[in-house]
């Protein structure tokens, strides 16, 4: 079982398992893995669950998943970095996702994004230094009928303008402005 991890990683294993033992979320994750009968092809489902539980995928978590599914750590890391949906860095307390699909783009989503970028002084894909706000872009959230759309903390909001967006992220920027 341990052979699936390289020698270097093997030394980390006891540490990871100990790390996992004190955390309830690992138990939930393990139950989820069990539900999928430890099947290796359930890797993406397991990563979804892990990200839902932990918010992001840190190294130890990926190694834990590799160990439980008996997969090489490289494969787990490869899959986690291939898909845009998975993030290896912690997200901010609030998220602001600007849809950059074609319909939103031709209706001025780029201007909305630029306004938020200027105000928060971070670029798309980054988090403010105080960890308050993550600014992200989406390929297309399929809300083209109400473009341009922005998702604030999981709520899709229709017909955004730079002013409306700035109003919304006000107070999330951590500087109170």
């Amino acid at each position: 079982m341990i052979a699936t991890l390289s020698n270097k990683k093997k030394n980390r294993l006891p540490g990871i398992l100990e790390h996992a033992s004190g955390d309830k979320r690992f138990k939930i994750l393990e139950a989820h893995i069990k539900k999928h009968q430890f099947k290796q092809d359930a890797l993406i489902e397991v990563l979804h669950k892990a990200q839902e539980l932990f918010g992001y995928l840190e190294d130890d978590l990926l190694l834990f998943i590799a160990y439980r599914l008996k997969l090489p750590a490289s494969r787990v890391y490869g899959v986690a970095t291939f898909y845009h949906f998975f993030t290896l860095k912690p997200k901010g307390k609030h998220t602001c996702v600007v849809c950059m699909g074609t319909a939103c783009y031709v209706k001025g989503a780029d201007k909305v994004l630029a306004a938020v970028e200027e105000k928060t002084r971070i670029k798309a894909g980054e988090t403010t230094p105080d960890g308050e706000l993550s600014l992200l872009t989406a390929r297309c959230i399929g809300a083209c009928g109400i473009a341009p759309a922005v998702v604030y903390d999981g709520t899709v909001t229709p017909r955004q303008t730079p002013d409306l967006a700035l109003e919304h992220v006000k107070g999330w920027t951590g500087r109170g402005n």
Binding site: R75, V79, F82, Y83, T102, V106, G145
Partner: protein, 565 residues
């Protein structure tokens, strides 16, 4: 479950229908404008007016005119109804409804008046539509299987399992002339027949719901509004090809579609419409959901299968085609959501009926998502062969605020821009291909005079550059170089030689890439070059090396020719 049980459920559902049904759109578009609040307010208003025995407030799927959401429509049945009903049997359609409007809307049932904006049912946006795939959308409750059964749901599955051989189903599909709705337009019946004749113990059916094209939301709407029609279509396909396991690969960006599918699968299993011995026949079929993780390339069938297997979504060369060797090496049938949604109506109404709609080579209807600079944004379903002008100008109402339509983009990053001069083109697979675009999955983005075409080309190239999986070099490196060249053109630093280089690169990437993503990535550039070449030319600089546009005075700057890496 036998047919009597099915009929009983349908009859019970129809009998329990109340005098008035207030349908409230609960699809993602309207939900983002608080249609959930509207539905709750309507429920409360009905209760307060003491009309619970007469009025049902039903959450339904997409009612098509997304730009005017949240939408609420009233229906009435039986005698003495006070609501005016159109010839199609539907009452007034209220637009931009807020929770505060609920009381006055319920009041209209008792002769009251309301100030809420009403849609015109005679608007071409509605009258020109022909619904096959969207027939149940906005009518049935997507979260209750009984509602779908009452609309003749699962009838086709019963007929197929009890009265038809797999061969007969295949013949019906071939005769119907249905072509894949995912974009490429491969004849569905032939694809099914190939999987059916490949001998194997284990076969799979996959529904491709990884609707990655930016600007397309047809599949999302079908899944949110009528998930059971997709399940039924998949089950019929599985019977025809001899599969026992199905997967629906759906994007993680569509949480509502995912939850409705989960509900639908659970209900179908409870009713014995999925599982083992369906309709007391020897046919077993199960469907599992697979959630994507945000990779556009996974819409490509071989990449999608890799992703279902829990791997990185990298495509592989074909042949072998999935029909021969697909998921875990077994023969696999992959069809798009809309293709599966067409199956049950074809079985119910016959191949001849379906083949009578549309053009000679493209049968049936197609759902399009109208978006961009257009007055009526939303979903439309029209017979194949309808002209773009009819769709964009008549149904869509043209560009808003008196603007002029410049181009229509179809097919997303794999498609092209069709100029306003070509709006009289009938929409079918072959006509659009001739114009250098593709039918695609059905996204239609309208652009007006303010849109710069080179900008659009770069937007799509940036998309392809980011989404290239990196497996083959033409796509991985070529898209980056094309993007750099487009950026250089936009910065007014490029010369005619750069444009030539861009065109050569387009041809190379198109001809040598491994999968559809790379092969079609140059399309937006090629089609804008074909129809809007002057916009590129305006941005070019003179060439200091004596190119075709050079006047030899060395006007151009040296760095303009520096390698653009």
């Amino acid at each position: 479950m036998v047919i009597d049980d099915l009929v009983e459920i349908a009859e019970k559902e129809r009998a329990s229908r109340k005098k008035y049904v207030i349908r409230c759109c609960m699809a993602a578009g309207c939900m983002s404008s608080d249609s959930k609040g509207v539905k709750e307010a309507l429920d409360k208003a009905v209760k307060e007016a003491g009309l619970e025995s007469e009025v049902e407030v039903r959450g339904v799927g997409c009612m098509k005119l997304c730009c005017q959401g949240p939408l609420v429509q009233m229906d009435s049945h039986g005698q003495g109804a006070t609501v005016e009903i159109s010839a199609e049997g539907h009452g007034p359609l209220y637009q931009k409804v807020t929770p505060e409007d609920a009381a006055s809307l319920v009041g209209t049932l008792k002769g009251g008046k309301t100030k809420v904006q009403q849609g015109d049912p005679k608007d071409p946006f509605f009258t020109e539509q022909m619904s096959i795939v969207l027939a149940n959308s906005g009518i049935v409750d997507p979260e209750r299987i009984e509602s779908y059964i009452a609309a003749d749901g699962y009838q086709a599955l019963h007929d197929v399992l009890r009265e038809m051989t797999p061969k007969e189903v295949l013949d019906t599909m071939i005769k119907s002339g249905l072509r894949g709705r995912g974009g490429a337009g491969y004849p569905t019946g032939l694809k099914w027949a190939t999987v059916a004749k490949t001998a194997s113990q284990q076969k799979y059916v996959i529904c491709n719901a990884d609707e990655g094209d930016p600007g397309a939301f047809m599949d999302r709407s079908v899944l949110e509004s009528d998930p059971h029609s997709v399940l039924e279509g998949m089950a019929i396909a599985a019977y025809a090809v001899g599969a026992t396991q199905g997967f629906i690969y759906v994007r993680a960006e569509y949480p509502l579609a995912i939850s409705r599918l989960q509900t639908a699968i659970k209900q179908a299993k409870q009713q014995g419409l999925l599982g083992s011995g369906i309709f007391e026949s020897p046919f077993n079929f199960n469907i599992d959901l697979r959630i994507g993780a945000g990779a556009f390339v996974c819409g490509e069938e071989t990449a999608l299968m890799a992703s279902v297997e829990g791997k990185r979504g990298a495509p592989r060369p074909r042949p072998p085609f999935p029909a021969e060797s697909g998921l875990w090496g077994s023969p696999t049938l992959i069809n798009n959501v809309e293709t599966f949604a067409n199956v049950a109506p074809i079985i119910r109404k016959g191949a001849e009926w379906f083949a009578s709609i549309g053009t000679e080579k493209s049968k049936g209807t197609k759902v399009f998502a109208l978006a961009g600079k257009i007055t009526n944004t939303g979903l439309i379903e029209v017979p194949m062969g309808t002209t773009l002008r009819q769709i964009v100008e008549k149904m869509g109402g043209g560009a808003p605020d008196g603007g002029k339509i410049k181009a229509v983009q179809t097919g997303g990053p794999s498609g092209g821009c069709i100029p306003a001069e070509a709006l009289d083109t009938p929409v079918d697979y072959d006509s659009l291909t001739k114009l250098g675009s593709i039918m695609g999955s059905g996204g239609m983005i309208v652009m007006d005079e303010t849109t710069r075409m080179v900008d659009v080309a770069r937007f799509f190239m940036e998309f392809c550059m980011d989404e290239s999986c990196g497996k083959c070099i033409p796509c991985r490196a070529g898209t980056v170089q094309m993007h750099n060249l487009l950026t250089k053109i936009l910065a007014r630093k490029a010369t005619a030689r750069d444009l030539k280089k861009l065109e050569d690169l387009c041809e190379m990437v198109k001809n040598t890439s491994l999968c559809g993503l790379g092969q079609t990535a140059p399309n937006p550039v090629l089609s804008t070059l074909r129809f809007f070449r002057n916009e590129y030319a305006e941005l070019l600089q003179e060439d200091v090396h004596g190119g075709p546009n050079s006047n030899g005075n060395g006007n151009g700057k040296k760095e303009a020719l520096a390698p653009m890496i």
